[in-house]
Assembly symmetry: C2
Homo-oligomer: 231 residues x 2
DNA sequence: CGACGGGTTGAAGTAAATCAATAGGGGTGG
DNA sequence: CCACCCCTATTGATTTACTTCAACCCGTCG
C-alpha cells in the first residue's frame, strides 16, 4: 500500500473549501488521520460533527441485530459524511484504508450556511446530488440481478477514470468482496462468481484481487441495465 | 373514494409555507389538480419546477428498458418532489388518487433560498431528512426478507397514525399491491402472500384490499427487523 | 513452516420469482 | 337490476437465482 505515503497530515484545498471559511483549518486538531479499519464514528454517536473525506475511502454501513450488514455508501475525497438533522448518527463510518478526514462542528457549519448564502447553496447542492445518486441505487438494489449489480458497481467505481482514460481502464478497488456484497445486497460468494463471469465474458480482467481492468465498457454498460442473453 | 371531496382547489397553508414567500400562491395557475393515474412529470422532462404535494399521494418511479419498475418514493402532503441539480427529472411522478399539487419554479425557489437563510435552512433540512429516510430504505431493500419488508412498509405507512391512535390502528393504503411490490423490490404475488401470512399471525387484518388494520404493532416491529421464528 | 484472512469454486438448499388458475369488486350497458 | 367484463388480488405449483455450507487456494506474516 503505497497510497498511504501521500501527504497525509498536510493542509490542502477541499472540494468544499470549508477550510477557508470555518476558520479552523489551520488548527490541526480538526484534521484526523485514520488507519485502515479505524472508525470515524459509530451508529448512535452524538452527531456534533460533520466529516469531510480528504483522502482515502470511508465505508458507511448499518448493522441489524442478527449481524446482517448493509453498506450505505463508500465516501471518497470531497464527500461529506454525517450531515443529518437528528442528534445522533444513524450508521457506522470506518476508513477502509489509511484516510485523512476533516471534522467540522455541525453547528458551525449550519451557522455559516445561514450567514453565507453561497455556502448554504453548496450544502444544498451536495445534499440534492446525493439524493439523485441514491435514487439510482434504489433501482440497483431493488430490481437488478447479481450480474447487473456488479457491472453497475464497477462502472460507478470507474466513473472518474471513464472521463479521462480510454479502454482498457485500470484501477484499484479499495474495498473487500464482502464490502461490495454488503453494498449490493448480495453475499460475497455471489459477488465473486459475478466477477468470474465478467472475466469469462472478457468484460474485465482481475490481475490481482483488488485490481480491476475494464476491457469492454460498452458490454459492461449493457449488462448493467439489461442482463441480456449471455450466461 | 370520498377523500376526493376535501377542499381540492382552495388555498391552504403548506408544510413549507412556500405560498407565503414565493408570492405566487394567490395565482391559481401554480396549483394543479390531478386525477388518479395522472402524471405530474416524466423522466427526462425539464426540471424547471419543483412540486409540493398538498393533497393526495404521488408515486415516483423509474422504469428499466425491459419494463422492470422501481418505485423510488411515495410522496405525501408536505413532501417536495423534483428538487434536483440536473436539468431534467430522473424519474416519473404520477398521482395515485386525485391530488392537489403546487408547482414552484426551481429558480425562484433557489433564489429565495439564497436571499432568505431560514428558507435555505428549511430546504436543507428537507433534503437531509430525505437522506436519512433513504438510508433506512437501503437496509430494507438490500438486507430484509419479503415478510420483513412488508412489515416495515406497513409500519412506515402507519407512522403518522402510530403517534396519535392506539391499537388497533386502521388506515387506507392508497397504492395497489404492484406499487408496494415495486417499492419493496418484490413481485405483487410475494407481497400478497406476505399480507396473508401477517393476517394468519394476527398481526394485521384486511377488511378490504386497500384497508389495513394493525392488530399487533409490537409483533410487526419485531418482524420488521428480525423475522424471528414463526412461519 | 503453519496459521490466518481473503478469495474462488462446487454442491445442496431455499426464498422468492414465475407460471397458472381462480376469485372478488366495481363499472358499464343491456 | 342483472350480466358481463376488466382489473386487481389471492392462492397454488413449479422453477430459478441466489444463499448457504463446504472445500480448497494463495499470499502474508508471526
Amino acid at each position: 500500500m503505497h497510497a498511504q505515503q501521500v501527504a497525509i497530515g498536510q493542509t490542502d484545498p477541499s472540494a468544499f473549501g470549508f477550510q477557508s471559511w470555518t476558520g479552523l483549518s489551520d488548527s490541526y486538531q480538526q484534521i484526523k488521520v485514520l488507519g485502515g479499519q479505524e472508525t470515524v464514528f459509530y451508529e448512535g454517536d452524538e452527531s456534533a460533527y460533520v466529516y469531510e473525506v480528504l483522502e482515502g475511502v470511508v465505508c458507511c454501513y448499518r448493522l441489524l441485530s442478527d449481524g446482517r450488514r448493509q453498506v450505505l455508501a463508500f465516501s471518497f475525497p470531497g464527500d461529506l459524511i454525517g450531515l443529518v438533522q437528528s442528534e445522533t448518527h444513524g450508521f457506522n463510518a470506518e476508513a477502509l484504508k489509511a484516510a485523512r478526514i476533516r471534522r467540522i462542528p455541525r453547528n458551525t457549519l449550519l451557522q455559516t450556511a445561514m450567514e453565507r448564502p453561497e455556502i448554504g447553496r453548496k450544502l444544498l447542492e451536495f445534499a440534492t446530488s446525493e439524493l439523485a445518486v441514491m435514487q439510482d441505487r434504489f433501482v440497483m438494489l431493488g430490481r437488478k440481478s447479481a450480474l447487473e449489480k456488479v457491472a453497475s458497481f464497477l462502472l460507478a467505481m470507474a466513473r472518474s477514470h471513464l472521463e479521462k482514460q480510454c479502454e482498457p481502464i485500470s484501477f484499484d478497488l479499495p474495498m473487500k468482496r464482502v464490502d461490495i456484497a454488503d453494498y449490493l445486497g448480495l453475499t460475497f460468494e455471489t459477488v465473486s462468481r459475478a466477477f468470474t463471469k465478467l472475466r469469462r465474458m472478457q468484460a474485465i480482467e482481475l490481475p490481482q484481487t483488488q485490481k480491476v481492468v475494464l476491457l469492454d465498457v460498452a458490454l459492461l454498460k449493457d449488462l448493467a441495465e439489461n442482463e441480456s442473453g449471455w450466461n
